[in-house]
């Protein structure tokens, strides 16, 4: 009868443990399991497939961060939580684009998730700022920063990769790059 979640959905426990253990498989199952629910909601409320993808991914990020932060309690079903978060995010987006928001067609129960969504919005702001700063940083700085801070390469590796004569040069380059990134990051004022 219910065609909402046709694919097999992992249990809530599986998901929480999987995410805490950085299991890609759990993330995959979670993603595939609940996407139809959000797609249905967005499609029936003035959105398209791309909106659904964006909103759903944001929703999963909220859940992911909440689980990772350690203060996640299963006070409701994951399904309800995801639905409520995505719903909240979508309603905000609709309001931002001053699209029609009356008559929301609901498909699931809704719980209060305002705090989580607000927190996420701040983080999302930071993410976008960083993304934009890195884009403006240019090469080779972007790759050096990413290799050192994100991919955790050693100064020695970077030295070899970029052909610096010694690690001191590489260190100086990295320092300059980071200074510029900081400058860009704090300058960017997102609308």
């Amino acid at each position: 009868m219910s065609n909402k979640l046709s694919s097999s959905v992992p249990t809530d426990r599986e998901v929480v443990l999987g995410i805490l253990n950085n299991s890609d498989d759990a993330l995959n199952k979670l993603y595939v399991g609940y996407f139809p629910m959000i797609l249905q909601f967005i499609l029936n409320n003035n959105g398209d497939e791309d909106d659904a993808k964006d909103v759903y991914q944001e929703g999963i990020i909220v859940l992911y961060n909440k689980i990772k932060s350690g203060n996640f309690e299963l006070s409701s079903k994951l399904k309800t939580y995801i639905y409520s978060v995505c719903r909240r995010i979508w309603l905000k987006k609709l309001a931002q684009h001053s699209r029609k928001t009356s008559n929301i067609a609901d498909f699931e129960d809704v719980i209060a998730t305002e705090d989580d969504v607000e927190q996420h919005e701040e983080k999302d702001q930071q993410f976008k700022k960083m993304q934009s700063a890195l884009q403006h940083l240019g090469e080779p700085c972007k790759t050096i920063i990413q290799d050192f801070y994100i991919n955790n390469l050693s100064m020695q590796d970077i030295c070899e990769k970029f052909g610096y004569t010694n690690t001191d040069n590489a260190k100086t380059q990295k320092y300059k790059c980071l200074q510029r990134l900081k400058k860009l990051f704090f300058q960017i004022d997102l609308k």
Binding site: V32, F35, P36, M130, Y149, Y175
Partner: protein, 365 residues
């Protein structure tokens, strides 16, 4: 510049916990003494954290994009896209409620099925009986087969009547309405009034569509009736309306009481009501009256295998049948009585008045 780079290196090592214990102690002392160093540590920490958050989120997005690739978005969105049809939208929005309703219906059907299962044997017994009496319809028409042995009460006939039914007066001058299946194939028909007086009748008109037949008393002994006490109800009546009938399942009139259980008859036949009323073979052709004594239909059949499902042709079609009779064949009086002298009377009083207008019909084949 050199110092700055050195300092940043130390700060990073400090934040990553790569300094030795002594170095950590010394550095913390430096932070306490020099607020500008302390500020740098904090700022660097915050910045590195947001850089790490960025990395984590980017990684997560990448994984989700990969997962998204496994989702068949087209098929799903075709399924969930708001349907232009109102009905489908209703279905989607009220799926849960409809689901409950559907399961309820399923359950009911399962129960009905089991009842059918139980009555299957009885049903087949009735089938045999129908074969014998050569009634082919799946509804058992309510013609009473009169046993020749039980026929002692009508000594006037040389031959015993084979079938019996009920009819009622349409006009005061001897037109009688009954079911077509009661008189079909009859060699001769006799009606018997409440006092047991038999009269010869002639078939004036038959209407196979509504299973109605109009007879006319041709006997010279017939003196005519006084004005009809009942009236034909033109509009249909609602479910739950209490109704009653008078018929001849035996040689004396029998009163039966019930209610309209559905506005349609067998298999959704809109020309009939379904009435929950106990009837037996012999009731066919009997009038169905409401509480005010208006005629609302003609008892015509009951469904075997189903308890209390009797079908009655709606009064509207009686009027139609009446209207379709050419005026001359009815004399000049086709009009049904417009007055209803039964209104407000108690049930026994009503029946007392009606019984003179209800006839037993005896059919010889």
């Amino acid at each position: 510049m050199r110092n700055e780079i050195e300092l940043e290196g130390i700060i990073e090592d400090y934040l990553n916990g790569k300094l030795t214990e002594a170095e950590t102690k010394a550095f913390e002392q430096l932070r306490l003494n020099d607020p500008s160093v302390d500020h740098k540590v904090v700022a660097h920490k915050v910045f590195l954290e947001s850089l790490r958050d960025y990395a984590v989120t980017l990684d997560l997005k990448g994984k989700m994009d990969e997962a998204h690739g496994h989702v068949d978005v087209d098929t799903l969105s075709r399924k969930f896209r708001p349907h232009p049809s109102f009905v489908v939208n209703i279905w989607r929005k009220n799926k849960a409620a409809l689901g409950v309703a559907a399961s309820f219906i399923l359950l009911t059907m399962a129960m009905l099925y089991s009842i059918q299962q139980n009555t299957e044997q009885i049903g087949s017994v009735e089938q045999v009986k129908r074969d014998l009496t050569s009634l082919k319809s799946s509804q058992s028409s309510l013609i009473r087969k009169i046993n020749s042995t039980a026929n002692a009460s009508i000594p006037k006939n040389e031959r015993p009547a084979n079938y019996g039914g009920t009819g009622f007066a349409l006009t005061a001058n001897g037109y009688i309405l009954t079911n077509l299946h009661v008189i079909e194939g009859a060699e001769s028909i006799t009606v018997v009034d409440n006092s047991g007086e038999p009269y010869k009748v002639r078939v004036i008109r038959t209407d196979s569509q509504y299973d109605l037949a109009i007879l006319k008393i041709t006997d010279n002994r017939f003196k005519g009736l006084s004005n009809l006490p009942y009236r034909l109800k033109r509009n249909t009546i609602g479910m739950g309306e209490e109704v009653y009938t008078l018929g001849f399942p035996k040689d004396d009139a029998v009163y039966g009481r019930g209610y309209v259980s559905s506005k349609t008859g067998y298999n959704g036949d809109t020309t009939q009501y379904q009435v929950s009323i106990p009837v037996n073979p012999g009731n066919s052709g009997g009038p169905l009256l409401d509480q005010q004594g208006n005629i609302i239909g003609v008892i015509s059949a009951k469904q075997n295998q189903v308890d209390g499902a009797t079908f009655a042709v709606k009064s509207k079609y009686i009027q139609e049948a009446l209207n379709s009779i050419p005026n001359d064949s009815l004399g000049n009086k086709v009009a049904f009585s417009k007055r209803n002298s039964l209104q407000g009377l108690s049930k026994p009083k009503q029946i007392e008045k009606i019984k003179d207008y209800v006839f037993m019909i005896k059919v010889y084949k």
